[in-house]
Each structure stands twice: as C-alpha cells, then as structure tokens.
Amino acid sequence: MMIRDILSALFILAGSLFMLISSIGMIRFPDFYIRNSASTKAVVLGVLLILLGVGMHYNDTLVFIEIFAILLFIFLIAPLAAHIVSRAAVITDVEFWDKTDLRELEQYKNENEQETDLEGKE
C-alpha cells in the first residue's frame, strides 16, 4: 500500500521533470529541427511516466486499459506529427542551424530531382 504510493509519486515526479527538460530544450536549442526532436522525445517519455504513475495509484484494470489506449495513441502519433511538421518545414525553407551538416539532404535532393516535388502539388 505504502510502497505503491511512493512508487507512483516517484513516477509522476520523474515524468513532470522530463516535461520540464523538454520545455527547457524548446527554449535553449538553436534551430527548429533540433527543438522538434527535443519536444517529441522528452514529452512522450514524460507522458508515459506520468500516466504509469496515475495507473499505479488507481490499481484498477479498467483504468489500465484506458491508459494503454492513451499511450498507444501517443506512441503512434508523436513520431508521425513530428515527421510531418519537419517535412513541411523543409518544404517551406525554414532556416537550418549553420553548424548542421546538410550534405546528405543536398545529395537526396539532387538524386530525386525530377520526381522531387516531394512537396507534391496535390
């Protein structure tokens, strides 16, 4: 009983610390793409820890099923959303950080020159 409370409190605290770390990354990082990676990864881990802590506190099968649904959804959509927003940013020529190594991107663009309206006009 007591151990369960302590564990769930620890999980919730750790999760909110990860949220804080991700927000500090949002402020401090130099570039949209790096900020996007920080926001996606750390936020997913933070939400995972917080929801696990909440489920441990309730200790109930139905609540665990619900939490599993939320987690499945978040794990599906977070990489998807990050990918699509980054792709839109590349297409709309958002600035890269000047220390980023862009050779692979240039090579990719040159290779696929003809079919690369990767932006696809509808």
């Binding site: 409370d5 302590i6 769930s8 409190a9 620890l10 919730i12 605290l13 999760g15 909110s16 610390l17 949220m19 804080l20 991700s22 927000s23 500090i24 949002m26 402020i27 949209f32 900020r35 996007n36 926001s39 936020v43 933070g46 939400v47 917080i50 929801l51 909440v54 506190h57 309730y58 109930d60 139905l62 609540v63 619900e66 939490i67 649904a69 939320i70 959804f73 978040i74 959509i77 959303a81 990050a82 699509i84 927003v85 980054s86 792709r87 839109a88 940013a89 297409i91 709309t92 958002v94 600035e95 932006e119 006009k121 509808e122």
Partner: protein, 95 residues
C-alpha cells in the same frame, strides 16, 4: 495531506513552469512551425495536468478527457502542417 498529494501538487507546479517556457517559445518563435510544435508541447502538458488532477479529484472520467485532448491536438498539428505546405504551393499554381 499524504505524501502522494504533496508529490502531485509539486508536479503540477513543475508542469506549470514548463508550460510557461513553452508559451515563451510560442510568442517569440521565429517561424510558424516553431509555433506549431510549441502548441503540441502545450497540449501534452495539459494532458499531463489532467491525468494528475484526476488523481487529486478522484475522478476517473478526467482520463477520458485526456484521451480526447490528445486526439484533438494531433488533428490540429496535422492541419497546420498541411496548411504550411498549401500556403507555399498556392502562389505557384496562380502563375
């Protein structure tokens, strides 16, 4: 006031600070995609606060609200991404 309640209040405070930092990025973000992802992080923070508050209020229904919140945030992000691409392609179509 048990240990768990104190931990929950402290984490709500931490998440509030992180929401404030996210809002700073939202206000000064140099480009539109920056604002889109900061809204994404904002909604994730909101989801976390809802989950913790459902423990404090002993109301399991708030977890359903969290599920729907994450759904709506995803749809919003997708819509903004498509809007960005559309806004860039449109002048070319007019030429």
């Amino acid at each position: 006031m048990s240990l768990f309640t104190i931990a929950a209040y402290v984490s709500i405070g931490i998440i509030s600070i992180s929401t404030l930092l996210t809002l700073i990025r939202f206000v000064k973000g140099p480009s539109l995609p920056d604002r889109v992802i900061s809204l994404d992080v904002f909604s994730a923070n909101l989801l976390a606060v809802l989950a913790i508050y459902s423990v404090l209020a002993e109301q399991k229904a708030y977890l359903n609200v969290a599920l729907i919140m994450s759904l709506i945030a995803f749809v919003g992000t997708m819509t903004f991404a498509y809007y960005l691409v559309y806004k860039r392609n449109k002048p070319q179509d007019d030429d």
